[in-house]
Symmetry: C2
Subunit: 190 residues, 2 copies
């Protein structure tokens, strides 16, 4: 019997497994309050050596990008689902509540990504912004959102203030409720 | 003639002057985008030695606290002036616009103070929150702000979202206008 070192197929299977272990560890660390995502911390949680973690992804940057993208993809999916199934204004309100809960539970993501090259994450964030823009445009068409303010500005406004509300860990129910009430009422045609 | 070193009055005058120079330099650095407030940077800008800067305030923490407090005190004064001169709802709107302009111009303050002991700054922030609470309570009394949401929650909501809007440098007019329009309309009794 050949060892993985002697067998190219075994080496590939090992590499896939190491990638999965490192990715899973990074994803878990992203949900820990105050957790700092160093290669050492990821390696320790994954039960791998630091060099193996770096090799599995070609660097910490790519690993973080993959971990965050793995967390954001279901959010994008959810936004699209809401757009298909619900009236746009209700979709926006529901999605914002879920987005704040997600951001509150993954508070460290933005700090960890600060200044890093993260193309998969950037693309998914862009898709999230586009889905929110679709909700706002649709709600305008329904007469449910005011038309005197620029759509792109509203997308930025909503995204930035929702993120600010999510800075509580966990976001207290009171402030999330008040935020959604004030925001959604303020967005109505006046 | 005695030199300052030999003359206690001269030493005291020197100490006062060094304090002022260090404080002025720190205040200027707080307004510079991306500026990092190290003792070395403050000393360089003040034309003093690093040891002199530390001696003048008993440490960087106290120096930063004094510099930020010097910037916040006029804001507290302004909030009180608005409360005396203007209807509470209008006072809140005007004050928020000025607060966002201030925060946008002094973007680094929060990051610099992160984790530091800053009693003067903390006290002034508390006074700012109290002034905003007074505006909200007054506007409620006038029937200009909804009563279905907790006042303390609204103060947190307004403070946190205003700060988020101020993260632009400088805050673009479009988003500040949209924020104030949506917030103030959303705060009205529905």
């Amino acid at each position: 019997m050949s060892t993985p070192e002697e067998n190219p197929r075994g080496r590939r299977a090992d590499a896939v497994r190491n990638r999965q272990l490192a990715l899973h560890a990074a994803t878990q660390l992203l949900a820990e309050p105050g957790g700092t995502l160093t290669v050492e911390a990821i390696a320790k949680k994954a039960g791998l050596g630091a060099a193996t973690v770096v090799r599995a992804f070609g660097g910490k940057e790519a690993l973080l990008d993959a971990a965050v993208a793995g967390l954001l993809a279901p959010l994008v999916e959810r936004a699209r689902q809401l757009l298909e199934q619900t009236a746009p204004e209700q979709a926006l309100r529901t999605f914002l509540a879920e987005l704040i809960a997600f951001q509150s539970a993954h508070h460290a993501i933005s700090r960890q990504l600060d200044g890093l090259e993260a193309p998969a994450t950037t693309a998914l964030r862009q898709q999230l912004a586009e889905a929110m823009e679709e909700m706002i445009v649709g709600a305008r068409r329904d007469g449910a959102i005011r038309t005197d303010l620029d759509t792109a500005v509203l997308v930025t406004l909503v995204g930035r203030t929702a993120f600010a509300i999510a800075q509580d860990q966990p976001a207290s129910e009171g402030i999330v409720h008040a935020y959604l009430a004030v925001l959604m009422d303020g967005l109505r045609p006046q």
